[in-house]
Amino acid sequence: MSTQSATIQLTAKDYGSNQEVRWCPGCGDYSILAQVKKVLANLGAIRENTVFVSGIGCSSRFPYYMNTYGFHSIHGRAPGVATGIKLTRPELDVWVMTGDGDGLSIGGNHLLHTIRRNVGIKILLFNNRIYGLTKGQYSPTSPFGKKTKSTPMGSVDYPLHPLSVAIGAEATFVARAIDVNTKHLEYVLERAAKHKGTSFVEIYQNCTIFNDLAFEYASGKETKDETTVYLEHGKPLIFGKERNKGIRLHGMDPEIVTLGGNIKEDDLLFHDEKQAEPSLAYLLSRMHYPDFPEPLGVFRCVERPTYEEMVMGQVSDAVKTKGPGRLEDLYDDGETWVVN
């Protein structure tokens, strides 16, 4: 990413615009906004080279609050807009802000294909498991049976899991964080910002108005140590208040074990975010509350040439082999004749 020269060090505040932030009090989006600004400051991002693109939803108001370039586009289509920007100006740092409805319902197709192409953009999916802006209908990530305005008898849609989708779409960077753990969110966003290629981050985000406490299990003081497990590259999966529980592989399936006795750390599943095959990352993405603690952190981070690099590579190869285009050559393609 492009970074500021050392002389003009901007603070997190400098990345914010003068617009009044209009999310509901207590909304998880505030935390995400704060951490994004912090990360930009940490990395010394150049304001004019940074572009925030969004679709429609509460989350998608994000670009207005940044003092960078921004494009609040239409519902579900931010990845398309971002791809066009990136293919025109590959040197820009492009972020896509999307929601569970924006990114996985109406915009599901674009999300898949953008990730598959490995376009060098950072996608943050604010997952509140509800449609916030349209006042509380269930979303593709709402749990089965969820009662909402449009499902008074409970939803009969099976939900999908954003990270499983991203991994299935060949994502090179996949991570999850939660709004209330600001330190960890900052860490994950910084990792996402530094990744070359598509970074996909699911952020558990509390909607205080229409789906309050949806992530209480993962954020509550009493429960969070038992219901989440933090991923660290090269380290075993250990969790619990006493840090005495771990995840072990039993054949192809994960299982929860208690450390001590004949079970040692070495028996546990060790995280490897760099595995070429995404099977481990996928397995982790399938661990759900209440059966398992839900992993937070970087699931997968591998290198692969980016889409814009390859598109521009073909342009420069063509210039190398054919020379810079001349209109005379363009018109003279094929048979020509002269009328006297």
């Binding site: 572009v51 921004g70 289509r77 807009v81 025109t88 674009h110 294909h113 285009g325 048979e335």
Partner: protein, 631 residues
């Protein structure tokens, strides 16, 4: 007239040469028979000879419909003349039918007394049955109205290719060149250019090149030696403007226009598109020209194609998308975003038969309303329509000029007929092409060093500030914005003001476009008004009627929205305005609404262009009616 059965020496008559002002030839065969290819070869050759040429390829939607069936018939019609041509011809003078289905599907268009060359080897039981013939039409006298020539193409072609070293199946594929060779002889054309093309095309496969060359030459020599044909037909070169020419289809002309505009403006060309007939060739063509800094993006659908173009325009590229009807429908929400964001871009709609999937490979003009009115809200943009295949080049340059000069999306309407039809195009002198100077702001222009993204100039145009420029950081989007500052704004008066401003800005484009010209008297009984590809048949029909002494003029709209400023005035000078369209009266409705005149429509929605004759008769009918009323 079947002469092939007569003994050779009894029919040794001197060959006559018949001079024609204009000839229309149609090749017809299975979609796998390579009819499009030989049609294009003959087009090149006749154009290089100096004739004016206009073509009409007609092919089925199925890539390989069952061989020998009517559904699989592919045709290529070319009209070449010793004078300026504007259509591919109404009546076919010579039909080359490679099998019974091709005969059945096309015979109705052949003029009485016309030349009919058939591949008699293909008229076997199976093929006759597939085409729905109970009797062999070659035997039952049903073709006696035509000059029938039965040529055993399969057999002769196989003999010609015997020594090429290819297998029987592969040699059978050369029979289109056999037929072409025969036509070159029949119409007095040299086989040289096609020989060159074959050598070049199949350079890597010498056996294939050899077989095709043998077939081509054998076809030609057959014409010369078989003494089957009593005459050859010659069309003298046309008097056309001096210069260097090449053949272009509408799609090629669009692609060249786009590359040209981007290069002249020193901009990368971004083309985001999703494949769709008949627009895909634009994507194919552009992806060959990456050395012009062309960046093509085959998106996952038209919605992504459109929004990528919006992103590319925001980032400062010459951003373009191309599609056809169903894709256009998908793009509309994205186009609305481009309108409210006020970003420059070009959207090419190569219209095809609708609604829905409709007639994918056939032509139609039924997307005018979709172009002008197709979006939610008051969403005005500029709409242009190309008149001929070569005009596609000029119209794309004009679209780009308007897009960047007025910060607006511009829709360019072409259609299947223009896209695939070809005509000679005079290669422009690059020094005489228009200049585009595009200015991006570099400094904030508001108080306290603020940048005001929706501050406008006298013509209501805002500035094009691109990401990467320090100090101009700003946010835009689909929500209504306050004029000047661009901040989100729900104020009712501001909304009304912005709605009117966006419309007024589009109207201001009319100050920069040429007035509507009239062919014929500037006032009178009847004006035929056209738009898009009806230009050819309308103009020719009007010229013919005028030659017969009728009082009729015509005018052609290349600018649909806004229209030239004098449009209403031009129309008002005629007693009757006739608007022929390949739809149920879309320009008609537009004209009636805008100028409150009682214009008359002439509709043809058959997936086929108008015949000159159809418009001529309508003109005559109207004028007769006028005269009847006068007397």
């Amino acid at each position: 007239m079947v002469v092939s059965t007569e003994p050779a020496d009894t029919r040794k008559k001197p060959l006559s040469i018949i001079e024609r002002e204009e000839l229309t030839v149609r090749f017809a065969g299975d979609s796998g028979d390579g009819m499009q290819l030989v049609g294009m070869q003959m087009t090149n050759t006749t154009a290089m000879f100096g004739n004016d040429v206009s073509t009409f390829p007609d092919y089925p939607a199925e890539i390989r419909a069952p061989a020998g069936t009517l559904a699989g018939v592919s045709g290529y019609q070319l009209n070449f003349g010793a004078h300026k041509l504007r259509t591919a011809g109404d009546r076919v003078n010579a039909l080359i039918a490679m099998n019974p289905a091709a005969l059945k599907a096309n015979i109705a268009d052949l003029e009485t007394g016309g030349i009919l060359v058939v591949n008699e080897d293909a008229f076997n039981k199976t093929n006759l049955a597939k085409a729905g013939y109970t009797e062999n039409p070659l035997e039952d006298n049903s073709l006696s109205r035509y000059q029938l020539f039965r040529v055993p193409v399969d057999k002769l072609n196989a003999e010609a290719c015997a020594e090429s070293g290819l297998t029987g199946r592969a040699t059978a594929r050369c029979k289109n060149f056999y037929a072409l060779g025969l036509c070159y002889w029949l119409f007095g054309r040299s086989i040289e250019a096609t020989e060159r093309w074959i050598k070049d095309k199949f350079g890597g496969k010498p056996a294939v090149a050899d077989a095709n060359l043998r077939a081509l030459r054998a076809g030609y020599y057959f014409g010369e030696t078989a003494e089957m044909f009593p005459a050859r037909y010659l069309v003298a070169p046309a008097k056309i403007a001096t210069g260097r020419y090449r053949k272009v289809t509408g799609n090629e002309a669009v692609a060249m226009g786009l590359v040209t505009a981007a290069l002249l403006a020193k901009k990368p060309l971004f083309y985001g598109s999703y494949p769709i007939t008949p627009a895909s060739e634009i994507l194919h063509e552009l992806s060959k020209h990456k050395n012009f800094d062309v960046r093509t993006f085959q998106a996952e659908d038209e919605i992504a194609a459109m929004t990528s173009v919006v992103g590319a325009a925001f980032a400062g590229a010459f951003a373009v998308t191309g599609t056809s009807g169903p894709g256009m429908a998908l793009k509309q929400e994205g186009i609305g975003l481009a309108i409210i964001a006020e970003l420059p871009m070009v959207i090419v709609n190569v219209q095809r038969g609708g609604p829905s999937t409709g007639l994918p490979t056939k032509t139609e003009q039924a997307d005018l309303h979709q172009a002008v009115w197709g979006r939610n809200g008051e969403a005005p943009l500029c709409v242009l329509a190309a008149a001929t295949p070569a005009d596609c080049f000029a119209i794309v340059l004009e679209a780009f000029r308007i897009a960047v000069e007025f910060m607006t999306p511009v829709i360019v309407l072409t259609d299947g007929y223009l896209a695939n039809g070809a005509e000679p195009w005079m290669i422009p002198d690059t020094a005489k092409l228009p200049k585009f100077t595009i200015k991006h702001p570099t400094e904030p222009d508001g108080e306290e060093h603020r940048f005001l993204p929706y501050k406008r100039d006298g013509r209501l145009v805002r500035q094009w500030a691109v990401p990467g420029t320090p100090g101009l950081e700003h946010r835009i989007g689909g929500l209504e914005k306050r004029d000047v500052t661009g901040e989100v704004c729900y104020d009712p008066h501001n909304h009304h003001h912005m709605i009117c401003t966006r419309r007024k800005k589009i109207d201001n484009i009319a100050e920069t476009i040429p007035p509507l010209g009239v062919l014929g008297e500037p006032s009178g009984d009847l004006l035929v008004l056209g738009w898009g590809s009806t230009y050819g048949p309308i103009t020719t029909a009007v010229e013919r009627c005028r030659a017969k002494g009728m009082s009729v003029s015509c005018a052609h709209l290349r600018y649909i929205d806004p229209m030239p400023k004098n449009t209403g005035e031009v129309l008002s000078r005629f007693r009757t305005v006739l608007i022929p369209e390949m739809n149920l009266g879309q320009l008609l409705a537009h004209i009636r609404a805008a100028f409150l005149i009682d214009a008359i429509g002439l509709s043809k929605v058959q997936g086929k262009p108008f015949m000159i004759q159809e418009i001529e008769s309508k003109i005559e009918e109207i004028l007769n009616h006028h005269n009847g009323r006068k007397s």
